[in-house]
Symmetry: C2
Subunit: 770 residues, 2 copies
Amino acid sequence: MKNYIIADEWNIIESGFDAHLNKISESLFSIGNGRMGQRANFEESYSGETLQGNYVAGVYYPDKTRVGWWKNGYPEYFAKVLNAINWIGLHIVIEGETLDLAKTKVSDFKRVLDMKAGVLIRTFTAELNSGKKVKVQATRLYSIADDEISALHYHLTALNFDGTIEIAAFIDGDVKNQDANYDEKFWDEVTQKQEKSTDYLVLRTKKTEFEVCTASNTTIFVNGNLQNLKSGARDKYLEKTATFSVKQDSTVEIYKIVATISSQNYEKTELLDAAKTSVNKAIAKGFKTLLAEQAEAWATKWQDSDIVIDGDVAAQQAIRFNIFQLNQTYTGKDARLNIGPKGFTGEKYGGSTYWDTEAYCIPFYLSTSPEDVAKNLLIYRYKQLDKAIENAQKLGFNKGAALYPMVTMNGEECHNEWEITFEEIHRNGAIAFAIFNYIRYTGNQAYLAEYGLEVLIGIARFWKQRVNWSADKNQYVMLGVTGPNEYENNINNNWYTNKLASWCLTYAIEATEIVKVTAPDQYARIQAKISLDEATEFAEWTDIAENMYYPYDEKAAVFLQQDGYMDKEQILVKDLPASERPLNQKWSWDRILRSCFIKQADVLQGMYFFEDEFDQETLQRNFTFYENRTVHESSLSPCVHSILAAKLNDEEKAYEFYLRTARLDLDDYNNDTEDGLHITSMAGTWMSIVEGFAGMRVRNGQLKFNPFLPKNWTSFSFTVGFRGVALKVSIAAGQITIINHSGETVTIGIFNELHQITPGEQVITYQELV
Amino acid sequence: MKNYIIADEWNIIESGFDAHLNKISESLFSIGNGRMGQRANFEESYSGETLQGNYVAGVYYPDKTRVGWWKNGYPEYFAKVLNAINWIGLHIVIEGETLDLAKTKVSDFKRVLDMKAGVLIRTFTAELNSGKKVKVQATRLYSIADDEISALHYHLTALNFDGTIEIAAFIDGDVKNQDANYDEKFWDEVTQKQEKSTDYLVLRTKKTEFEVCTASNTTIFVNGNLQNLKSGARDKYLEKTATFSVKQDSTVEIYKIVATISSQNYEKTELLDAAKTSVNKAIAKGFKTLLAEQAEAWATKWQDSDIVIDGDVAAQQAIRFNIFQLNQTYTGKDARLNIGPKGFTGEKYGGSTYWDTEAYCIPFYLSTSPEDVAKNLLIYRYKQLDKAIENAQKLGFNKGAALYPMVTMNGEECHNEWEITFEEIHRNGAIAFAIFNYIRYTGNQAYLAEYGLEVLIGIARFWKQRVNWSADKNQYVMLGVTGPNEYENNINNNWYTNKLASWCLTYAIEATEIVKVTAPDQYARIQAKISLDEATEFAEWTDIAENMYYPYDEKAAVFLQQDGYMDKEQILVKDLPASERPLNQKWSWDRILRSCFIKQADVLQGMYFFEDEFDQETLQRNFTFYENRTVHESSLSPCVHSILAAKLNDEEKAYEFYLRTARLDLDDYNNDTEDGLHITSMAGTWMSIVEGFAGMRVRNGQLKFNPFLPKNWTSFSFTVGFRGVALKVSIAAGQITIINHSGETVTIGIFNELHQITPGEQVITYQELV
């Protein structure tokens, strides 16, 4: 736990330079634009501790896996997002001495992430060993308005000397991943080209042969006078250099405007030309215009997705930080991209896709972005359906059964732990549930015919083969699974997985019926494509759904996480000594597995998904039982508990769970922010507020709210888009204000009463519970 | 499955050279002497496929482990036996052309492993590209009589040419392990020394700093004339060379007599001198005397351990091969050594110790070797008790609880799969059972006071902490284990493990009572050393033993392998298509884990250990149930089924199971003989005959036999040593002949009738069942 970020409503601020915090700040101050992104590495040379990271979404390398003991069915590669070309590089030499914050005296250091404008600004004064002082302001952005463009402005003032300054503004592709399994470099050079002020470098990834072209335009001004630049080059590296004299108070300004494009979006033969066009367009605008466009683009994003909290600056900063990161990680323009758990902020988890997307991120994008954004996340899985079928085949399934991978870049499984890769199959259910959730929210049933149904049937076919009939129980069972609670492995009859599987089977049948009625042509197409034998398959699926076994404990009257859970020694988390936590650091894996402690919501994840099936008493009993045993050692856990606590009117607990993730990265709770940010869990924080505190749901095509106001807040408000209507919802003590920005009246439920919300503002009072 | 080894009663014979079989033959023709050993690599240069392997027992390297996903509690190193100095090397150049069987025309190739004499002989004629032909006979041995000595004689005849031959007889320590995790070399040179005909090389292992000195004496004769030798050297390599002219029919004879000693047995400062003394003693004897001593030493071994089978040459060859390998792998002289699953025949399994030793090898050595041999295997574990306690501590156990490692060299765990390392804990029980078995066989209860009790108490303390009280079942349960059937992982209440644990707790108490009465001083010493709190601890252990939960299936009336086993789809092995076997090659790990198929005896392993507790009907029901589900994909499985089938008078099945392992390596059943031989399973083959066909048991201090004669054998006989009495037992149809080689009368049970066997020969007839 750290506490060095200065609270501010719109900015993330670090004041003073502490090299020990640098890798944490590099994560926190990361910027990106959905297409690419970067850790907050310094522009100038830095010989201290750093994790260099520039990432281009969707450009990956299949790194040959490293494994202790091979199991049949393991994938051979772990596809990793690559540390890509470093475009920000400036080598600055002042009278023979390199500017390097690890080797100079640094004062007035400040890093500001201006979330409103989408800009990272760093200022400092550095005193070199020679006693020469310079003052620097470095500003940079990844353009949200034009996602091929990034740019920086580096403004240096010679404070107390006359002398010579040499500057090399470079782009460097001779980089590697720290997580490379065999210490290899992943990039080869294809070609390079240098013009007067613009350098072009085309690099190709090994094996996958993605090509990325970086076009970097450099201009350097000394006291406003444009400098002549020389070109320099070596393998995978190009530079523009200038050497000049300065006097005290001289200013040096360096601009780099960079286009980054890849063979994902252009023919390889056209990369150079396209990069030239792209960078020239940005050069023509100039840095100031890029800044303005950026602020404007972010203003739109904030309009759609901001949450305002009155009365708690730290909470305000935290939720905006979470929303900012989500928006700069995924913009939904490209259905080939997804949301890595660390986004563009680190190498961990390989930048790959997890079930986090479906279970935690979809709701955020559904409510705060145009409908296509969430839809593209669904289509991502649709595009990977064939690979999911192949993946299932590798494990011995057939007849079009689809098992989506636990971790993936291109649809192929990347992960190699049998208990996860082969057994944490509930991910398949989350993917089906996301389709249901999307349609429930948007009302867009046409999605089923277009994309959804094929996925649902592939998943249903998997569950059909994955369960087996237990002659002993006279029911269907599901053996050898790992639930969301990864502190149990290879268990039998995980309640959550059985529940989800059964639901999937039923929903696939329902979805088929809808498509048959609403889009008979599409149904015929799908039927022909996947050889659906409705009579037989639906009968089998129905039989399974109707005869699924669900473990239940009669004494505690709770759904049982798995068979045999009650054989464990039943200790409560409150009785765990603080010195033994977190368990995943303090206990052996053996001890963790045998204990009753739960890593993250498991039964409760199921009760969250299917909440309408359970009355409050049942929910309360299960919540109490499982909450008492849950250690929340996944950042994805507290949000679900927060939402359920809110539903149970336990406002204090709901707020407490919210707090656990809201500032997870800003305060470096788990001492791991230096690896990158917990991007996907940030969506959970948003959910805690919107689904938890505001109690927002969509039922029967209508938005509903069951709000409460956390004790130490004056009010909070947020914007949601719902079926073409943009609403601003403000919650204060006993009062909910809704501004309907659209031209039409919308019916909204508040505490089970329906209200007709006409265009404009309406205030509804409600009875506070506490 | 291969079939190229020529059947012979005393020899393993390969006729004709097939480079594709070379690595298999390198394994099959391995020789060793308990202290060191070697694959049957060629003396002369060979550029074809080969796995070079020379091993010195107990000299290992802690190779930094390679693992996909780290779990708390994993060990950092896998200790591996090292490929050590190659002492057999001969570089032979004939008129400028190197003799290399991969590059010449080979005829009359024959490899013979003379098991009676303990000698490997290879003969061949090679025609070089130049057309020059040479005939070679290479003979070598690892002396059983003096386990520091190995020697070879290489006899070459120039068949059809006059010309120059250059010979370099070298020792080469610049070798590596194929299984090195990071492709490192493990040896450094300490020193080298060259005398007129003897070279000395001292090498040191990295990290572990074992030093091994090899003293190699070379003599070369041409047509009986001793040649002058030149010395040559480079790092980790020494050679003696000679160049001379030969005429057609000239003979060249090369002798190498080599001493290998290590810092395990000598001070490092004395290694050179000691090696000199050792090699000189052997040189003084000369190669012929070494051969004679070897034959004599092997004659003694065969006298004690031979099994003679009449009427089945292939079976005779097989059982002798198994006995030969066991005897050259472990001689029991050094309690720091143990039996790697591959002995000195390959790198696989790192040459480390597994529970194979206690469960399968102890019975063989108990019956066929002096009592100290098996005892030293037990003392090996006693010496590692402190490490076993440390190992348990790493996992969170305390108060002197001992968990012996799954795989070890020096007592530290080497293996890194959580489901094995942390969970396959039944190994602890096998170690306790071996103590019981040793005492039952030898009657040597003093072992308890000396060594056994401390181990038993450490193990009991582990089980005490490893079970937990299930409030749900109102019994003790053991969660999260892997039984001998490794096709199930992380299961609850493995019947075998629960049974063994419970037995350990009871036996530890019994053993304490025995020591208290028979060796009160020793008891006081132990009590003080390990702070045994008898009152409390014994009460706890008794409580657990009395209230242990054992899964049982009422319908099938069988002990249940684990909780929930009957939830699996119950398919029988006979209904598995041949194309799907072996499962471990054809099925994904996911499918294997979820199936009901059993890798190796599990419940049945327990019924074998504790057979007296079960009546024949119970045994028959469980045997039928589990045999029908067992795929025997471990070489350790069939012997247990063979013994139980024999006990159930199912002679056909007993023989069938015996056949599955008897020629496992000779016929390369599993296509893996090239990696090395299945040494530990060879002891199981011996058990199938002696405990299975002959039905030998020790009960109440007496030997008992319940014999039958396999249908296609005329008779079989074997020798057992029992409490100072050497017996030869011959079984023919309806007749058992016992020769009592000792001077005293011994009482022996045959089919529940006791017979007084006086010195000399006695014939007892019995009723054949079939």
